[in-house]
């Protein structure tokens, strides 16, 4: 039987890629192959990718050795034009055949809805897979994108690091691919399957297996030593691409370094030396786990070197720490005047002054007790002082954490210290949120000050480029408010933040925008993130309809989305939605009308009096239910109060009456009913197809 499939292997040998580049590159490699082979009509089996910092491999099972035979039809002129009545070709017929490069006898006739037409069938010559692969591999390799690329020779090619060589095997056959000046790697007489097997024997080829292997090694050692079984997932992922054949070494260091705050120790170990911290009952112990590459090393020697290097580094941390704690944190705040916050936004001292006022403002709105209020103010005052310490200078990621450590050392209250640490939380989407009220209030102040200041100074995210983190800040703000269930009016908060920038508090920084304009911009960014963070609803439009009404109370938005999701299938909910929809439709058609208050004396028809009666009787109760956040009850009452009355009214009374005073009065009534619900709960008119059974 003729062989139609062979296994394919591509190996890109490259000078060590940054560990974080490998996994995304493998994903791209795999997807690019699948996509290109599909486009080229070459069938294949499983596609697997394997990678280390130095090699990216794509292995494709059963690649079909030729493209699929393909043909397609090209239609020409109608038959009556291409051929005369004697069935001889006309000049037009001959022209078409000539243009398509076929003989007259190859022209076919096909009857279509429009009559009989001339057409031809063109076959696309199937190319051998080898030829196609030679053409697409360089393109696939070039399509792998990296955060940063470089050039290294005069070929002009760019990649994350220099490409050393490229090996391509179609079973035993080498396909020579050149990328820039990098030579093709050639292997004689070894099949792709055998080559892969050989690699598998020399190291753990599969990155997922390798990761599990490392994790197991560490956990087993932890178990054996009676230590906590936990592992730094980010470091694990990085290490996994720094080694090929992992070997574990457990080493130790002098106990005296345990005096250094935990996060500093951890940063020294995991960030600078890429070794794992070990702990017992949640506390770090003077041991570490290092993952080395390759067997047959001089483990005893290496262990010594790792330990010595660690101690030397820790000595430096201890030096910074001891230098920093010589001065109380409080004494540092004055020096914040020398530290710029952002271009055009003054210095860090002004920032903490704003934070003090803002957090006090929030505290008052939340009715926080006096003692806590003072702690929050103190924390705000000290919140940025650690930026001046040597430790944060050396490890910027420790901002807040060192602030907490040094605040405690300076004799500040624990709640103040924790608030300093927590005000930077969450650092990412999945990070912990501030738990204490003090920390949360300060965190909100800092975020709103950042967003307002940045947008106010003309900085704005562009596409996915958001270098100053305006979106991230907005997102964090929402997460914190939601998490703590704080009921704060967003507009008043933003106004306060703008006011603080605009001199009234005695600060120098002024923002170039009009307050209303800036407020609108800030709200837009927060709303955009709110849409992103609010849980999805069924139907999707329910979420949008909640966001269309008042969003000033972020925690309330989440409550409303949740409450309405639960009742969205109820008849009374649909009735309420119908009320919103009908009133909203009639108002949409009344643009430009003067709509004022409802004038009772202008109500003529019984049916409109009925509707207004329903309003008079129920509006206060509905408003109260909304105020009490009983959205279910509010929606029920709203739907039941107006649905029937409005239905009859619309069927029998012409809203758009000739008499403008009557018309405007009726519209006023519609507006009042509409706003009663849509202002503060949700604009349910946005829901699709509202049908009340």
């Amino acid at each position: 039987m003729k062989i139609r499939h062979k296994d394919f292997l591509l190996e890109i040998n490259v000078e060590e890629l940054p560990a974080s580049y490998v996994r995304p590159a493998l994903d791209k490699l795999k997807n690019a192959f699948i996509e290109r082979l599909r486009a080229e009509h070459i069938a294949h089996g499983d596609v697997a990718v394997f990678g280390t910092a130095g090699t990216l491999i794509c292995y494709i099972k059963d690649i079909q050795l030729r493209q699929e035979e393909l043909s397609h039809e090209i239609s020409g002129p109608p038959k009556r034009i291409a051929f005369d009545e004697n069935n001889n070709p006309t000049p037009q017929g001959i022209g078409f055949a000539k243009n398509q490069g076929v003989n007259i006898k190859d022209l076919k006739i096909k009857s279509t809805l429009k009559g009989e037409y001339v057409f031809i069938v063109k076959r696309i010559k199937a190319k051998p897979a080898k030829e196609v692969l030679s053409a697409i591999i360089p393109e696939i390799i070039k399509s792998i994108s990296f955060p940063k690329t470089m050039k290294w020779d005069d070929s002009g090619i760019r990649f994350a690091r220099p490409i050393e060589s490229i090996l391509v095997l179609l079973d035993k056959e080498n396909i020579k691919i050149k990328m820039g000046n990098a030579p093709a790697k050639v292997i004689k007489g070894v099949s792709s399957a055998a080559y892969l097997k050989k690699l598998e024997k020399s190291y753990t080829l599969n990155q997922d297996k390798r990761k599990i292997e490392i994790e197991k090694m560490i956990k087993m050692a932890q178990k054996k030593l009676g230590l906590d079984e936990s592992i730094d997932k980010n470091l694990l992922e990085e290490i996994n691409f720094l080694v090929k054949s992992p070997v574990l070494v457990i080493g130790d260091f002098d106990k005296k370094f345990l005096a250094i705050p935990r996060d500093v120790l951890a940063a020294s170990m995991s960030k600078h030396q890429r070794i794992f911290t070990l702990s017992k009952d949640g506390k770090l112990v003077n041991k570490f786990a290092a993952i080395l590459d390759g067997k047959g090393r001089n483990i005893a020697d290496m262990k010594k070197v790792y330990g010595n290097i660690l101690e030397a580094r820790l000595k430096d941390s201890l030096f910074f720490y001891n230098e920093d704690i010589k001065k109380p944190l409080l004494d540092q705040t004055d020096k914040l005047k020398d530290l710029i916050f952002q271009k055009d936004l003054g210095n860090m001292f002004e920032k903490i002054q704003r934070l003090e006022v803002l957090s006090l403002f929030i505290s008052e709105k939340l009715n926080i007790e006096a003692l806590k209020k003072e702690d929050i103010r103190k924390a705000a005052h000290l919140s940025k002082s650690d930026l001046l310490t040597q430790m944060v200078g050396e490890f910027p990621s420790l901002q807040g954490i060192m602030g907490m450590e040094y605040a405690l050392k300076s004799g500040e209250k624990e709640s103040v210290a924790i608030a300093i640490k927590e005000h930077y939380l969450p650092k990412g989407l999945d990070d912990n949120l501030p738990e204490t009220i003090e920390g949360a209030v300060l965190a909100i102040s800092d975020r709103i000050d950042n967003i307002t200041g940045l947008l106010g100074s003309g900085i704005e995210p562009k596409g996915s480029f958001d270098p100053f983190g305006i979106r991230r800040n907005s997102q964090c703000l929402i997460q914190i408010i939601k998490h703590k269930g704080f009921r704060i009016n967003l507009t008043s908060l933003i106004d306060k933040a703008i006011e603080l920038y605009n001199c009234r508090g005695g600060f120098k920084t002024t923002l170039p925008y009009k307050p209303e304009e800036l407020r609108g911009r800030v709200i837009n960014y927060i709303k955009e993130r709110l849409e992103f963070l609010a849980p999805d609803t069924k139907p999707m439009e329910l979420k949008q309809s909640v966001l269309k009404s008042d969003c000033n109370d972020i925690a309330g938005v989440f409550k409303r989305v949740e409450a309405l999701s639960e009742i969205s299938a109820e008849t009374y909910f649909l009735k309420a939605a119908k009320v919103c929809e009908r009133t909203s439709n009639i108002l949409k058609g009344a643009k430009g009308e003067k709509i004022g208050q409802v004038n009772k004396s202008l109500l003529k028809e019984d049916l409109e009096k009925e509707v207004w009666k329903a309003y008079s009787v129920n509006s206060l109760a509905i408003k109260n239910l909304i105020k009490e956040e009983k959205y279910k009850e509010a929606t029920r009452l709203y739907g039941e109060a107006f649905f029937e009355a409005l239905h009859k009214f619309f069927d029998n009374v012409l809203v758009n009456a000739e008499d403008s005073s009557l018309r405007q009065n009726r519209l006023a009534m519609m507006l009042a009913i509409n706003k009663l619900y849509t202002n503060d709960v949700a604009d349910l008119a946005m829901l699709p197809q509202i049908v009340v059974q």
Partner: protein
């Protein structure tokens, strides 16, 4: 093999790179923060002419002083700098061979290339490459230059910067650099301890802020004046002096975070002027 002394390591590296076609040039006689500042790297990386050399460069980082109290940190130390332009495909293998030539057993120990995209903001130089780790001890900075003085390079040079003390620590199995053997039983500490202590005190406590502030201005002015007269090398030497004055001011805590980027930008724009001057006569 007998463990190499500090001076023997330099000797071996000179021989090694000399045998591979590098000129061995001498250190620059001005205070600099790194071997990259030497005109043999800064200027010679520019333009299209090939260039390969190696040299020891005494380097000063006033902020890194620790009063001889830290086993890894010094305000004055030695770099061994290799610059190969254009880089060659087997450069990393050659580099690993140089480690073997120093008697380091690469089978028993692990060499790791850890991502590090190097950058010198004052020189406007940047490149992609690695820190080279030997059992987690950083012994070399390995960089493919992409830019110098903010100018995109036509020909990519490879810069290999060995931390001489670090390598000796590894070779001699000593984890305090003051205990390293310079040669014949004389230690690094014998030669440098007092120097470190006194300079740490000078950099952090005694250097005149007023004088260095003024000097910075003078040096900047002189560099510009010389650049106006198209004297690239003398102008550049004043850029280096300005850069060192800035480093001293920084160590003295005399530069606010606010001013820092502006100082750096001033040095960088001077360096750029010099680079452009050099390029105009050495395309």
């Amino acid at each position: 093999m007998r463990k190499l002394s500090f001076q023997e390591v330099i000797d071996k590296l000179n021989k090694f790179w000399s045998n591979r076609g590098c000129l061995i040039v001498e250190p620059l006689d001005t205070e600099v923060g790194a071997g990259t500042f030497h005109p043999a790297t800064f200027f010679k990386s520019l333009g299209k002419k090939p260039w390969s050399c190696a040299y020891v460069q005494p380097s000063r980082r006033p902020c890194d002083g620790r009063y001889a109290d830290n086993p890894l940190r010094l305000q004055h130390y030695y770099q061994y700098q290799v610059i190969i332009k254009p880089t060659v495909p087997e450069i990393r293998k050659i580099y690993l061979d140089s480690l073997k030539a120093l008697g380091i057993d690469l089978k028993a120990h692990e060499v790791r290339f850890v991502e590090d995209d190097w950058e010198s903001p004052t020189l406007g130089a940047s490149g992609l490459g690695w820190e080279v780790w030997l059992d987690s001890l950083e012994i070399t900075q390995f960089t493919y230059f992409q830019q110098v003085a903010g100018i995109e390079l036509d020909i990519v040079p490879c810069e290999i910067t060995y931390g001489l003390e670090r390598i000796c620590m590894f070779i001699q199995g000593k984890f305090n650099l003051f205990d390293l053997e310079w040669h014949n039983g004389v230690t690094y500490g014998d030669i440098h301890r007092q120097h470190e202590i006194e300079y740490s005190r000078y950099n952090f406590e005694e250097a005149s802020i007023e004088m260095h502030s003024k000097m910075f201005e003078y040096f900047e002015k002189e560099a510009n004046a010389l650049a106006d007269k198209a004297l690239a090398y003398p102008a550049y030497s004043f850029v280096l002096k300005a850069s060192h004055a800035f480093n001293i001011l920084d160590a003295r805590g005399a530069i606010s975070q606010n001013e820092r980027p502006r100082y750096i930008a001033r040095v960088r724009s001077l360096a750029k002027r010099c680079a452009e001057l050099y390029l105009s006569s050495n395309p």
